[in-house]
Symmetry: C2
Subunit: 494 residues, 2 copies
């Protein structure tokens, strides 16, 4: 049964990579995998590049001795079944663009990368769906939808490298949630593989199906702790006929919220994005040259709103957008507005929004939080968080930007006091009735604060799910929550 | 601790209702409940009305000896904890309007009714949400939304008696799924109580929250087998400025589908309903006088489409609707069209659609199926199902109507051969890549056919969930699936 050809050199490479006697288990996994799957299905020792040590966060983890790289669901199932039998823990890796450390390997883990599962079905025009394997990038799905005359509802900065498996597993959000919803709302069905290798397939993409328990939603946003999303059937939307965006300056966060309410009322479902750059972020982009000069609006000390519409009826949509913005200007909700007049303007304004990431990444010693807060308590949250930050480090610099249309702010602080700041900002978000992780997930890095927003009963329910679906805890162990509630990593809400 | 007052009369009533020695367990449950909760929290013996014997299907179950009726989440938790400790099985009852027998009591079960949990929060205008307890009716939510200037996205015929707990637990659908989605899409969060009495509360209603595993979706559409939905935070939509509907006659099912594609393209998100009455249903309504004469269009032998728009921009929406329908008429997609010109017309056309239910309920010996099928295989499904029905009973009469916009048809057959017909019609739906229960759920009545559309791995995953959340199987036991796969109730796909 077991084909030995190719095993010895692999074994030799592995012995050099993991020479200790405790690695017998790794060698057993590799023995099974190398005897049953082609050589491309695994990387060993020096073939494992440094990129497998983590995600888009600065902190890197252990270099995994082996990267398992299935190309099909059957290969994935075989790998999982072997690892489950041998109790071999795995870190799951997609595009490794996460911001919560979920894909950062811990000592003793092998990497399971979905990077070779790259098949993308043709668009099903009747059903307005497309089926993608886990390793297909978001950009590839967007392009395929576009080519078939459709639109995909989620967009995030990492579109070129993030992958559908990770997008589903982390319930990615991004810039158009207020129109299209989170990634969860784009999913018509998933194929998932459990730790024991069993495959759950639900790719029919029916808009209505109450035939037994829904299993799709178990895996959406699960961060890989319950099973591995190997394929997803994704919903597509009609391609917009009109797209336009605008940059506005508003004097305060209250004015920004008033402008949002106004645009929602006057534009309804035309409104597709409502992003904010706080004054310090816009000034930083200008100062550092992160967007091509001249900037569309001068640096004023105000708050900058990038808003967008997508419509189906052409010029009349564009007119409604301009009118709504001019009314806001007349009524003093905004002090200045520039509306895109060409696709070049349109792209330019979006690049300005994306420049906020480049600006933030250029700074050293920054700790970032991804919070969401109900509109009614936004101002209170910002005041309390600012006061707490000042109390911890009066030299701290705060840079805030993000998706105000969803109440979701990326709250970045430049200061060495990372842990104390996390306690302060995340507690303020929790006390405001908000989320400590609106779209980035919990992974390893936000786990200590999860109990600020989830009750002991909820955490116990998460553990029930983990034990039911991954009883030997081989899938992303220790991510999101620990199996034992008394673990030191779980803080008690102050 | 235990207050004995009131227990003895209760105990006496129960002894009369369930005199056997095996009912010691029921008396123990009632002992705990009657000592800790007010008398309104339970009905015993002759106080238990016949309505508790079932749902909206003809078949009635055992009369439960006790109906447990908590008024608050705390009371519900106490009741569940007691029943779990004593291993007392419960049938869960909301508005008892289901069509799959899920709320039909089996021998030995007590009823747990949510009918006294009736609190409805004020609308949260900032967040566009409302929080309802399980026993609030759908119509009460619709009315509260309307009063606050919002719209609730789901409507079904049972609106006046079905309740939010049941709507969430069965993922109700109805007439506007193509615009607003199923009930699942209306839920911003739930409070659920597990079999052991622990309460999982997620009622913040944040549009973006990836803080740990989502637990809401576990309970949506779970038909009560994993926990009890005690409250739901529901999303509201902007109230439409324009509503209009129209009745069209089309010559064939293919033409009906072409009309749907055409209206989707020309009306986009304006389109809010697309319902069909097959020729035999329209003729039956006319013949039986189930709609007030004169009917808006004569009986022609064609297929009747009731379609609706909801818009935000007034007369221009109405004009687009009329133009799209006139174009369809000009192009021969429809042979006759009548568009509502007043709210009286509008209501009248909807009453005509609802008359299909009255007509069907007036017939004896009818077995009904609630299937959905992908658009591309709809014609094939209808041909195959019709041939199979004829082969089983050449005198069978078939009546079809429903939500063609979602591929969801209510397929009703008048014939004594209920089981053979179920095998035939549900197999045809499954072979067409469809669902054997699009919106009604599985309950007791569709359970034998679940394995036509769900794999052994999926059924095993459902059992894992059941064992994890209700290890003593006290919540709706035997509904949806059996705990043991070899159970005779589970058919093998032919």
């Amino acid at each position: 049964m077991v084909c030995r050809s190719g095993l010895d050199p692999v074994d030799g490479a592995l012995r050099r990579a993991t020479p200790s006697a405790t690695d017998e288990r790794v060698r057993s996994v590799l023995g099974i995998v190398s005897s049953r799957l082609p050589p491309a299905a695994f990387l060993v020792g020096s073939d494992v590049g440094d990129g497998y040590r983590g995600d888009a966060t600065d902190e890197k983890g252990a270099l995994p001795p082996v990267v398992l790289r299935p190309a099909t669901t059957d290969e994935l199932s075989l790998i999982l079944s072997a690892c489950n039998d041998l109790r071999q823990p795995l870190v799951l890796q997609g595009g490794r663009t996460g911001l919560a450390g979920g894909a950062r390997p811990m000592e003793g883990e092998l990497s399971l990368s979905l990077e070779r599962m790259k098949r993308l079905s043709p668009v099903n025009v009747d059903a307005a769906t497309i089926v993608a394997e886990a390793g297909v990038t978001l950009q590839e799905v967007q392009a395929a939808a576009n080519e078939a005359g459709f639109f995909f509802g989620v967009d995030i900065g990492a579109r070129g490298s993030c992958t559908i498996g990770g997008n589903v597993a982390t319930n990615a959000g991004g810039i158009r949630v207020l129109r299209y919803g989170m990634f969860r709302a784009q999913v018509a069905g998933v194929e998932a593989v459990l730790a024991d290798g069993s495959v759950l397939s639900s790719l029919k993409g029916l808009p209505k199906d109450n035939s037994g328990l829904d299993l799709n939603h178990l895996f959406i946003g699960s961060e890989g702790v319950l099973g591995i999303v190997s394929k997803a059937c994704l919903k597509l939307w009609p391609k917009p006929v009109t797209e336009a965006n605008a940059l506005c300056v508003v004097p305060s966060i209250d004015a920004a919220q008033d402008l949002l309410v106004r645009l929602r009322q006057s534009l309804g479902s035309l409104l597709s994005a409502f992003e904010i750059l706080f004054p310090e972020v816009y000034a930083g982009i200008a100062r550092g040259g992160f967007a091509a000069p001249p900037l569309p609006l001068p640096v004023t000390g105000g708050y900058y709103i990038l808003t967008e519409i997508q419509g189906q009826t052409g010029d009349s949509d564009r007119e409604r957008f301009s009118e709504a913005l001019m009314d806001a200007l007349d009524d003093g909700l905004a002090s200045d507005v520039v509306v895109s007049q060409s696709s070049r303007d349109f792209e330019g304004l979006w690049r300005l929004r994306e420049a906020s990431n480049s600006f933030i990444f250029s700074l050293s010693n920054v700790v970032g939080f991804d919070v969401s807060v109900p509109a009614a308590s936004m101002a209170r949250f910002l005041d309390r968080a600012a006061a707490s930050v000042r109390a911890i480090d009066r030299h701290a610099e705060t840079y805030i930007f993000g998706h105000l249309g969803d109440g979701n702010l990326h709250y970045m602080v430049r200061s060495p006091e990372h842990d104390a700041l996390a306690d302060a900002v995340l507690t303020a978000a929790a006390e405001a009735g908000g989320s400590i992780s609106a779209e980035h997930g919990i992974g390893l890095d936000k786990k200590p604060w999860l109990s600020l927003v989830r009750s002991p009963a909820e955490l116990a329910a998460m553990r029930r799910l983990k034990r039911a679906f991954d009883p030997h805890s081989i899938l992303n162990p220790g991510r999101v929550f620990d199996l034992e509630p008394s673990h030191a990593g779980e803080k008690v809400c102050p």
